[in-house]
């Protein structure tokens, strides 16, 4: 049973946790953390210089989850043969298992796993500017499917539609996996005492990618006909990977050649992105900020492979021809139509993948000599097929200077159960932090396992940096404070 559960969790867990972006909202108002400029390039770290302590530990973040489902949506408590058991929502003894599962999905089901690792991070204040330099590696895997598609997969045709037409729109089904690195160069400039602006330019280098592109792809099912029409393509740029095809170019399989690490560093898969931001202090203790990040794309030109959908599939019944002896052969024709639907493109064209741009808009009010701050943050993520919005309320405590805590609560896709916590420690030249969003509070337990039962995802970020204060400024502040 234990082994079964592990296997199950391995498949199920990725769908339980949600991430709308790699960034952790809790970080946004954590002013003591030098990394928060990743969310708004206009933010200036408090330290004159900072640098990643270790190449791989400067800042790491990992995200996995989905936008709708929790463990409790997939597993239910039921009485089976007189015993209480934890069962799948598909268990035959459950009433409304599937309908409850589907009602938990808000709009499209979006599943994402990603990681971001800062390989190199450096920042330095120069007069009224703050310059940053970083090298990052990002892995981003996402899948999105409309509720209607899932409903069709689980229920088939609805009872009320059996005499009509069920239309399943696959246009918003998307799947992609990206691995890329970037070098970013940022600048934050203090226009005046109250107004900062910032920008960051990123040179992106793609290592591998596979993404789907469905355009008008629709399955119409009725008693009269099945019609699968529209355009679809699967683009990939993966070293050594290729689609196998038959003589007519129809896909028959896939294979991958031996590759070396250097094959993943193509100079052709380049892209650019930009972050823009601004902050404005309306009052002494009230700051509003806005930023747009990851506004860019990667164009993939190397190691290309492309599958393209050809003819539409149309089936309106096996035609029985009384003059032919073996009418059942006609079924082969339709099976062939399905098999031949996807063709391998001989000369695949380069393709572009857009990063998921984020728009942040926040406001923070601090009091008690900035020891406590409360903030509100709106984050809008522009994905390829949809837009998602979060709203985060945040409180930051910095009761003693070296240690700061952050507590956040987010409204994400209709869910309120999203607690975020963060701790940032700045002691001497060392900065350490650990942040998490959507922290699970309730766990299903048993058999030595604990699985979050009410959360859709989990974000965690941590890092260690070297920080060096502006001693002159620090001294001046102390003098001012003493004089007051």
């Amino acid at each position: 049973m234990k082994r079964k559960l592990y296997i199950l969790c391995l498949f199920v867990l990725p769908f339980l946790y949600t991430v709308k972006g790699q960034e952790i909202n809790t970080l946004y108002f954590m002013s003591e953390n030098p990394m928060r400029h990743q969310l708004n390039p206009a933010f200036m770290p408090e330290h004159k210089i900072y640098a990643g302590l270790f190449p791989l530990l400067s800042s790491c973040s990992f995200y996995v989850g989905n936008n709708s489902l929790t463990f409790s949506d997939i597993f239910k408590n039921a009485v089976v043969d007189g015993k209480r058991e934890t069962v799948l929502f598909l268990h035959p003894d459950l009433n409304n298992g599937v309908s409850d599962f589907l009602s938990a999905i808000k709009g499209d089901l979006k599943v994402r796993m990603s990681s971001n690792i800062n390989l190199l991070r450096f920042g330095m204040k120069v007069k009224d500017m703050y310059l940053t330099l970083g090298v990052n590696n990002t892995i981003d895997v996402s899948f999105s499917a409309p509720k209607t598609v899932l409903s069709f997969a689980l229920n088939g045709v609805k009872e009320e539609d059996i005499n009509g037409t069920t239309e399943v729109d696959f246009s918003n089904v998307s799947a992609s996996a990206l691995v890329y690195s970037d070098i970013d160069l940022g600048i934050a400039y203090s226009v005046n005492k109250n107004f900062n602006i910032g920008a960051k330019l990123k040179l992106l280098s793609g290592h591998s990618c596979i993404s789907s592109d469905f355009d008008g792809l629709t399955l119409k099912i009725s008693k009269d006909a099945w019609n699968f029409s529209g355009n679809a393509s699967i683009n990939s740029s993966i070293p050594g990977f290729y689609w196998e095809s038959d003589e007519e170019g129809h896909v028959s399989g896939a294979d991958i050649d031996d590759v070396s690490v250097s094959d993943f560093f193509s100079s052709s898969n380049l892209g650019f992105a930009a972050d823009l931001g601004a902050t404005y202090d309306f009052l002494e203790n009230l700051q509003v900020s806005v930023s747009v990040t990851d506004l860019g794309f990667i164009r993939w030109k190397d190691n290309l492979a492309q599958l393209e959908k050809g003819e539409d599939f149309f089936f309106d019944g096996v035609v029985y021809d009384i003059n032919k002896d073996d009418t059942l052969d006609v079924l082969d024709e339709y099976a062939e139509q399905l098999e031949d639907m996807m063709s391998v493109k001989e000369n695949p064209k380069s393709f572009k993948t857009r990063l998921s741009a984020k728009l942040y808009a926040g406001a923070e009010y601090t009091f008690w000599q900035d020891r406590i701050g409360v903030g509100i943050l709106s984050k809008t993520t522009f994905c390829s097929t949809s837009t998602m919005s979060d709203l985060t309320l945040s409180t930051n405590f910095s009761l003693c200077r070296p240690v700061a805590f952050s507590l956040s609560y987010s409204f994400m896709q209709g869910s309120f159960s999203n607690l975020g916590l963060g701790i940032n420690v700045n002691v001497g030249p060392i900065n350490m932090y650990l942040l998490a969003d959507e922290i699970p509070l309730v766990y299903a337990k048993g058999d030595g396992l604990s699985i979050p039962s009410r959360t859709r995802g989990f974000n965690i970020a941590f890092g260690m940096n070297l920080i060096f204060k502006d001693l002159k400024k620090d001294m001046a502040e102390h003098v001012d404070s003493y004089n007051e």
Partner: protein, 542 residues
């Protein structure tokens, strides 16, 4: 530094402990159950077919179905026959016999001049059959001459020459048109094959016969004689005969033609409105001939059906149909002697098909020869009459006509229907668009095995289904379908029928096609069609 890490990790662990401290009592992961069941419903098209009458009849292997210019179907088959007519039998017992005694001038002349010429006649006047013959081209005819004499000098060295203006001898045998026979004594045969005889009004063929002797001194006595007998073989065969041949006997016979219209239509009843039987005859006979159809009749196993002629020429007995044939004017010409079509105007020929027959017989009689004794005709030794006997049945059927067919599809094996998928409900929606001028009843019966080669109907009312499909809309003036009708029906099975369904080994389909009661008769066009569309609704779980 170590203290810093300690504080950081302690704080972090504290946070995690806080977070991980709450237990969801709804779940117990030690009793997790991963059983799953998908309840699915699916609809879709299953199959469709569009069958025209032409298709249907082709499948029935009726190869003689055609359509006319208006696409109205008709069945037509014909058979050709050749009836060889026996040549006229002409027989002659004896042509002439002459006996010369010592006092006859013949012997005197022979003894004095060593030759004698006399005129003789081949006399046919006693033969009635030769009465009106003008001429004969003989085929295989030999004359036998028998010469006897008691005069020794006449037994050797006697020659014979025969010549006649009324006989044209075969040039190959007699190049100078004269018969010459040396050592003419005893029995001698003369081959007249290929000779042409011209009769005069008295039916005499005169010929000049000259006898030569080599011996100069012929001594005759009172008892001397010379006998010459001329005989012909019993039957004279001829290549051609010219004249007025009035004494021919009748030729009787039966022509039988098979047709396959009803081969696959067991228990069918067809009432065609106007079937046509057509008879055509070609002949090389060169003299008037009376042709009589004694009867048409059809057969089906032990059943037989006659058709009676209207306006029969025989008011006294069984009606028959008689006509004079056209005859050939020139030897070697084959002329259309007779042609007629027998339909409802000439008799009750529709009734011939009421027994779904498989053959049609025509009984006939020829009376060859002129009855009035005048005219000049000819006969040959290879006279024939070629018949073309056919039947044309337009698909124009009266009310009450019913066609029944059945078919059984064997080797069905539904036992492998997935046991992983439990069918709660399976509905097959049937949509029939009928543009046939027939009501169609279709009976589906699912069969299961009772033995290796024996089947029985599965006793399940939901599986065994009868469909009634209404005929298309029929125009009462044209008797043709002008628009289709749509009939909807379905077969619905549920979980309780699945076991029966899995035992299905064969499917028996019985069709019954009938002219609707609303029409007095209907015409069937090749383009008339029946469309069937089958759709499904399946609900189940797996």
């Amino acid at each position: 530094m170590g203290g810093l890490f300690n504080h950081f990790f302690k704080a972090s662990i504290l946070v995690l402990l806080i977070c991980a401290s709450c237990t969801d009592d709804d779940y117990d992961l030690s009793t997790i159950n991963t059983d799953a069941e998908f309840n699915l419903s699916m609809v879709g098209p299953l199959g469709k077919s569009s069958i025209t009458m032409q298709d249907l009849l082709s499948v029935m292997d009726v190869t003689d179905i055609k359509s006319d210019d208006n696409n109205v179907l008709y069945y037509e088959t014909d058979t050709t026959f050749r009836v060889d007519l026996d040549p006229l039998e002409l027989s002659v017992d004896e042509l002439f016999s002459e006996s010369f005694d010592a006092n006859s001038s013949t012997l005197v002349d022979l003894s004095v001049y060593n030759q004698v010429t006399f005129i003789k006649y081949l006399d046919f006047s006693e033969e009635e059959k030769f009465a009106d013959i003008d001429s004969i081209l003989l085929k295989n005819v030999t004359l036998e001459l028998n010469v006897e004499s008691n005069v020794p000098e006449l037994r050797e060295g006697v020659s014979l020459k025969i010549f006649s203006n009324a006989i044209t001898l075969n040039k190959e045998l007699f190049p100078d048109d004269t018969i010459r026979i040396d050592n003419f004594y005893g029995k001698t045969t003369i081959n007249l094959s290929g000779s042409f005889l011209r009769f005069n009004e008295e039916l005499h063929i005169p010929f000049e016969m000259t006898i030569y002797t080599k011996n100069k001194n012929i001594q005759t006595t009172e008892s001397s004689y010379l006998n010459i007998d001329c005989h012909c073989q019993d039957k004279i065969t001829y290549k051609k005969v010219w004249g007025n041949l009035s004494s021919y006997e009748s030729h009787k016979g039966i022509l039988s033609t098979k047709f396959d219209l009803f081969d696959d239509l067991d228990e069918s009843t067809i009432y065609p409105v106007d079937p046509n039987i057509f008879v055509s005859m070609w002949t090389n006979v060169g003299m008037p001939t009376d042709f009589r159809i004694d009867s048409f009749c059809t057969y089906k196993n032990d059943l037989m059906k006659y058709a009676l002629f209207k306006n029969s020429q025989n008011p006294d007995g069984v009606p028959f149909y008689e006509r004079k044939m056209m005859y050939s004017k020139n030897i070697g010409d084959r002329v259309l002697a007779f042609q007629d079509t027998f339909n409802q105007e000439k008799g009750d020929f529709g009734s011939l098909l009421s027994i779904s027959p498989d053959s049609l017989d025509l009984k006939y009689t020829f009376n060859i020869g002129s009855k009035d004794g005048s005219g000049s005709y000819f006969a040959t030794d290879s006279m024939f009459v070629d018949f073309d006997l056919g039947i044309n049945v337009p698909a124009w059927l009266k009310s009450g006509s019913t066609l029944s067919m059945q078919d059984t599809i064997f080797e069905l094996d539904l036992s492998s229907l997935s046991s992983d998928f439990d069918v709660d409900k399976l509905v097959l929606d049937m949509e029939f668009e009928n543009a046939l001028p027939f009501d169609v009843e279709m009976n589906l019966s699912f069969l299961k095995r009772r033995g290796n080669f024996d089947y029985e109907i599965i006793d399940d009312d939901l599986l065994n289904k009868k469909f009634k499909i209404t005929a298309g809309i029929i125009n009462k003036q044209t008797n043709c379908v002008i628009s289709s009708t749509t009939t909807l029906d379905d077969i619905a099975v549920n979980n309780s029928n699945m076991e029966d369904l899995k035992s299905v080994a064969a499917l028996k389909i019985e069709y019954s096609i009938s002219v609707p009661n609303t029409a007095s008769s209907v015409k069937v066009k090749s383009t008339d069609l029946l469309k069937a569309i089958v759709k499904f609704y399946l609900k189940g779980s797996m």
